[in-house]
């Protein structure tokens, strides 16, 4: 029985591969064939492919192709624009009335209605469904009942803040004022779900059905997913190609080699070891654009040694002892940019990015660093240990470089050492157990392009990703005020004020903004990365 199903999968995949080559052959003749299929590198998604359960980029890639939500972030500017939403209205920044556009269906023919959204959100917020993005629904009234904290019993299955008015309208009541809430609705967790998801969940997860420009043609878990353009897609961002074959690679070096050999069309993760050669190998078929990712060093504020008065000088001193320019040039070959604030350039000036907000505190100055650290009472225990996970992302290299820079600035060979942790899970574990012996690697990939997302989840008291447990009353107050502000420009200004509080206390050292990079074969054109460093597949032209 199992053998039989397995054989069927293989047959499907072969058929897909055959059609792919057939289409490819036709494409090269005509140039810009909308029927041609491209292949792209992929990683095995860590979690089942449910919208509210996918929190990493590999699964997110697929969701971005097979789902469209109320809003969509413009692939170039990152601005949230209406997709399925006809209008989202509010008078008090707390209750929102959402109207869904007419004429949208899922690829199985079912209509996308207000109920599709409400069902999906209720599913995501319900504790018993184990959805890892559940906290996204935390602003909606009734979340504490469907997702009680600290081992409480779940007393409701649906969010009381969601009400369906008619087939295309529903209302959302939040438990606090949150003026930019509509702009968060482009996140995949808020995608609508068809009835099939609830009726036959197992079958749905094996072959997801959504309302995006692509449909899943076949999916062999752990090795390949074939997506095909959906002819009946009603949106105006229809796929410009026939489909995408996502192939799982264990090692991004192999994917790169495959690209070189013409066996693969698109690699969206150029291995660090190839950064030196990539321009020679690919020329202008290599792209390197800013992504909404910032790397920082967080501090263990639960440890008194790092939290006592005066330590802010030590933290600022450390920040000034790091030669960001040199490290991004030599180690990252300019695929990262020295950070001068705590957000990301993809937000744009209007969105809250402010170059140079960090000021002197982020500028390399060995003498000032030494002085600041001495004034603050010296390094706790005479040495800083920077903790990182050694299994992915070549973190070891830059941590060593940061330490070198600190050691040189302080004229002390033992001032800073790296403290590698074997696996990412163990690293997260030690952070969760509050066992960090000193500063540690903290990376943040934005969920949605808002300044709020770069500040509140990371630095607000007891926020979900405040790993260092930094807490500051002024900061919290300013964030609350910013959220209540209905005018976006004023809200952004408030957030920036909060960011200044963060700077003065050096709650975390900003290191650099990360870029997304990709390389592609000469069959492709119009390849772009969106602010989430995911290729904009629907715009890629083949042939």
């Amino acid at each position: 029985m199992r053998g039989a199903t397995h054989a069927k999968w293989v047959a499907c995949a072969t058929a897909a591969a055959l059609t792919a080559t057939a289409c490819g052959g036709g494409g090269s003749a005509s140039g810009g064939d909308t029927g041609a299929v491209l292949s792209s590198s992929w990683g095995d998604p860590q979690n089942p492919l449910e919208p509210a359960n996918t929190n990493e980029v590999q699964g997110g890639k697929v969701l971005d192709m097979i789902f469209r939500s109320l809003k969509r972030y413009d692939p170039e500017t990152g601005k949230a624009e209406d997709m399925l939403a006809e209008k989202i209205e509010t008078s008090d920044s707390q209750t929102f009335t959402i109207t869904v556009k007419d004429g949208w269906t899922f690829s199985n023919g079912e209509k996308v209605t207000a109920q599709s959204f409400v069902d999906a959100w209720n599913y995501g917020a319900s504790l018993k469904n184990n959805q890892k993005n559940a906290y996204f629904f935390g602003y909606i009234e009734g979340y504490d009942k469907t997702h009680p904290e600290n081992g409480g019993k779940q007393s409701a299955d649906t969010l009381s803040g969601l009400d369906v008015v008619d087939a295309r309208t529903f209302t959302v009541r939040l438990n606090q004022k949150f003026s930019t809430f509509p702009d968060t609705l482009g996140y995949p967790a808020y995608a609508p779900l068809p009835k099939a998801f609830f009726d036959d969940h197992e079958a749905w997860v094996k072959k997801p059905v959504g309302n995006g420009p692509y449909t899943v043609d076949s999916y062999t878990k752990g090795s390949q997913m074939s997506l095909r353009a959906w002819d009946g897609y009603p949106g105006d961002d229809k796929a410009q190609n026939g489909g995408v074959d996502l192939k799982v690679y264990t090692d991004n070096n192999t994917a790169y080699t495959d690209l070189m050999a013409g066996n693969l069309d698109l690699v969206d993760d150029v291995p660090a070891s190839q950064l030196k050669n990539v321009r020679n190998d690919l020329g202008d078929r290599y792209i390197n654009t800013p992504a909404g990712i910032i790397q920082t060093l967080a501090f263990p504020f639960y440890d008194d040694a790092w939290n006592k008065p005066g330590m802010e000088k030590v933290r600022t001193g450390l920040s000034r002892a790091i030669n960001r320019e040199q490290i991004t040039d030599t180690i990252f070959q300019k695929t990262r940019t020295p950070a001068t604030d705590w957000t990301s350039p993809v937000l744009g000036e209007d969105g809250g990015f402010k170059e140079g907000l960090c000021g002197d505190a982020c500028e390399y100055d060995a003498a000032a660093a030494k002085k600041l650290i001495e004034e603050g009472g010296g390094l706790p225990g005479g040495q800083v240990k920077i903790t990182y996970n050694a299994d992915t992302g070549s973190h070891g290299q830059w941590v060593d470089a940061v330490c070198n820079s600190i050691n040189n600035a302080l004229d002390n060979d033992r001032a800073c050492v790296g403290n590698p942790v074997g696996t990412f899970a163990d690293f997260r574990n030690q952070i969760g157990d509050e066992k960090m012996p000193g500063p540690f690697r903290a990376g943040w990939q934005m969920d949605y392009p808002l300044i709020q997302n770069f500040l509140q989840p990371l630095y607000y008291t007891n926020a979900s990703s405040n790993d260092g447990k930094w807490t500051n009353k002024d900061f919290d107050k300013l964030v609350d005020e910013a959220n209540a502000e209905t005018d976006t420009a004023k809200a952004v200004a408030k957030f920036q004020e909060a960011e200044e509080v963060l700077r003065d206390n050096m709650g975390a050292i900003p290191l650099w903004y990360q870029n997304g990079s990709a390389g592609y074969s000469d069959r492709l054109s119009n390849v772009k990365l969106n602010p989430f460093s995911v290729p904009v597949y629907d715009e890629i032209k083949v042939g």
Binding site: V10, T14, P48, K128, N150, Y249, D258, R428, G432
Partner: protein, 307 residues
């Protein structure tokens, strides 16, 4: 013979229990796997607790182990974090790795033993020296260097093969990866056979066989080779287990989605169920391969009797 097999099978039980327990504990020592599931963020505590309950991680380790072993005997190897049954993962991974191992073993047997016989019979001649030098080079160069070099030369520069293996992983695609995987063992097999042959060439029974006037071919295949193969068979037998579990590097280079890939990913994601499940099967493979090797002795050497 029958009693011997039964005794050996019974001996496997403690080895099996011991090795699975060790693996289980080692994976557990690495800490809470749930923490790695939420990206660079803290999992929200309620969801984390719920997940722990679902995977049985909230119970003490000994209890987890007992439940796990109980399930294993009913054929249930648990569920991986991505929602797939481990048995399903095995059903896709093992056929691929078995094919890769078959290709590798074939290389070892055919090329390794042939080279071994040739050099053993012509000891000290130029052929012998050349092959000996060659094996030395192969042994001293790490597998990943051979693998990456062949991939770059054959796959990118000359375009003879595809640098990576497709999902189907057919025998044809696995020839180069199989050769890379087999390379080091192949060199050992050559050297083992060579020594063994060279030694037995001077033994009494070979001299007798030659004196009887048997054709050279028959002397070599029936008398010399059969007796010289015992150490080689032992080596190849234990190598089956090593090749299946140790293909991590080769599978990574050629992007083969076999056992090595699943183990690697399982360890990175601290997925106890996957790691323990696969290792359990590998332990079984090892034990059975060893038993078969021991039984083969009796076939090769009539003086060996099991009771």
């Amino acid at each position: 013979m029958g009693r011997y097999v039964v005794r050996r099978l019974l001996q496997m039980i403690p080895v099996f229990v011991g090795s699975t327990l060790l693996i289980f504990l080692m994976v557990n020592v690495m800490g809470d796997p749930i923490a790695g599931l939420c990206g660079d963020k803290q999992c929200d505590p309620a969801t984390a607790a719920q997940l722990e309950k679902e995977f049985g991680l909230d119970k003490p380790v000994w209890q987890q182990y007992l439940t796990y072993m109980g399930n294993v005997f009913t054929g249930d190897f648990g569920t991986a974090f991505n929602g797939q049954e481990v048995t399903e993962l095995m059903a896709t991974a093992f056929p691929v790795t078995i094919r890769l191992t078959i290709v590798a073993i074939l290389f070892e047997v055919v090329i390794g033993i042939t080279l071994g016989v040739i050099t053993g019979l012509r000891r000290g001649r130029p052929v012998d020296t050349t092959v000996l030098m060659f094996t030395l080079v192969v042994i001293s160069v790490p597998t990943f260097v051979t693998g990456l070099l062949l991939q770059l030369l054959l796959g990118v520069e000359w375009g003879w093969i595809k640098p990576s293996v497709s999902t189907e992983a057919t025998f044809g695609e696995l020839i180069v990866p199989g050769l890379v995987l087999a390379s080091v063992s192949l060199a050992y097999v050559t050297r083992l056979t060579r020594t063994s042959i060279a030694e037995n060439k001077r033994s009494d029974y070979v001299r007798t066989a030659v004196a009887k006037g048997l054709p050279r071919r028959r002397v070599i295949t029936r008398h010399l080779l059969r007796n010289s193969l015992i150490p080689v068979v032992t080596f190849i037998g234990t190598d089956i287990g090593a090749l299946m579990g140790g293909a991590i590097v080769t599978e990574r280079i050629f992007n083969i989605h076999g056992v090595g890939y699943q183990l690697y990913q399982g360890i990175l994601r601290q997925n106890t169920q996957t790691v323990v499940g696969f290792v359990t099967v590998l332990v079984l493979v090892f034990l059975v391969a060893n038993l078969i090797v021991d039984l083969l002795y009796a076939v090769l050497d009539p003086r060996i009797r099991y009771a």
